[in-house]
Symmetry: C2
Subunit: 177 residues, 2 copies
């Protein structure tokens, strides 16, 4: 194992229940089927914590006062970090430098400035087109992106548009580097 | 937030059900009550995985093929890393460099070479005294460590021995640095 070059980083943003996680899954499956190492980060949003691991030795460590606690099992490593509200996104991304990733996909974090795919579900989502660094737009209704200058694809047909979408994502970043 | 000097690293080792997690909890509580930033790592041992977070978006990302997936909630960050069996302990410890920790406590990983507290429960545990870099011995039966050259404390009285134990741990490392 060794640290590769920093991975290419992309975001998938959209309002709640617009289909972000499904698009993430499609992208991850496609990229990892091409033997690329993919990492992902998701913002859980407001109103609660991600499903936590309760009553484990790791949670005992955390309750006793540790700031970061991890458990290594036979196949997976689980790490929990407390009090991350003050962390900037770039600080969180430092956890990903330990692995030799090719691509890092971020679900959410609208205000971050990484190249992003925006999901438009209906008219009221159009404000998302004001976000920075948009490289592609996924639409549930193609009328929404009719006058868009971005690469646009219908979310009903994500599967068949994946190669073109990824070419658009990667081409854009390679041009910038 | 900034990266401090590397934290002092200690291990707590002992056979199954010898009281490792309880000693870890006591150490974490004491150290964090002194305003020290503590991180912890535990080896789950064989025969299963740590309690996992199922049916979450993070697990969806992992199932789709990502190597590392994280979810940031309002208070906690949960990171899951797949296929860590090939990781050396030192590679796992890289995840801890992101936080400004003072002390990193490792539960298990007997064969690692960090300064360690060994727990002796009964006669058959004496083989643990052959491990490298022992700095203290916690005993359920004081007869077990009668002829030991190490700092020894009875695990029935961990609480009152904590200040001396920690002085022994930290003093040892400071002398070496």
């Amino acid at each position: 194992m060794q640290i590769k070059n920093p991975p290419l980083i992309f975001q998938v943003v959209g309002y709640k229940n617009s289909g972000k996680t499904t698009l993430m899954e499609r992208l991850i499956s496609y990229l990892s089927s091409k033997e690329l190492q993919v990492g992902t980060l998701k913002h859980h949003g407001h109103g609660g914590e991600p499903a936590s691991v309760k009553e484990t030795d790791s949670s005992k460590h955390l309750q006793a006062g540790s700031s970061i606690s991890a458990v290594q099992g036979e196949r997976e490593l689980h790490i929990t970090v407390k009090d991350t509200t003050s962390f900037e996104l770039d600080e969180l991304l430092q956890f990903y430098t330990v692995l030799p990733l090719d691509i890092l996909l971020i679900e959410g974090y609208k205000k971050a400035d990484y190249p992003k795919i925006v999901i438009l579900k209906d008219e009221k989502d159009m404000a998302l087109l004001e976000l920075s660094n948009i490289i592609a737009v996924g639409c549930w209704n193609e009328v929404l992106a009719e006058n868009s200058d971005y690469y646009t694809f219908p979310l009903q047909k994500t599967e068949e548009n994946l190669p073109a979408l990824i070419a658009c994502m990667v081409g854009r970043q390679l041009n910038e580097n």
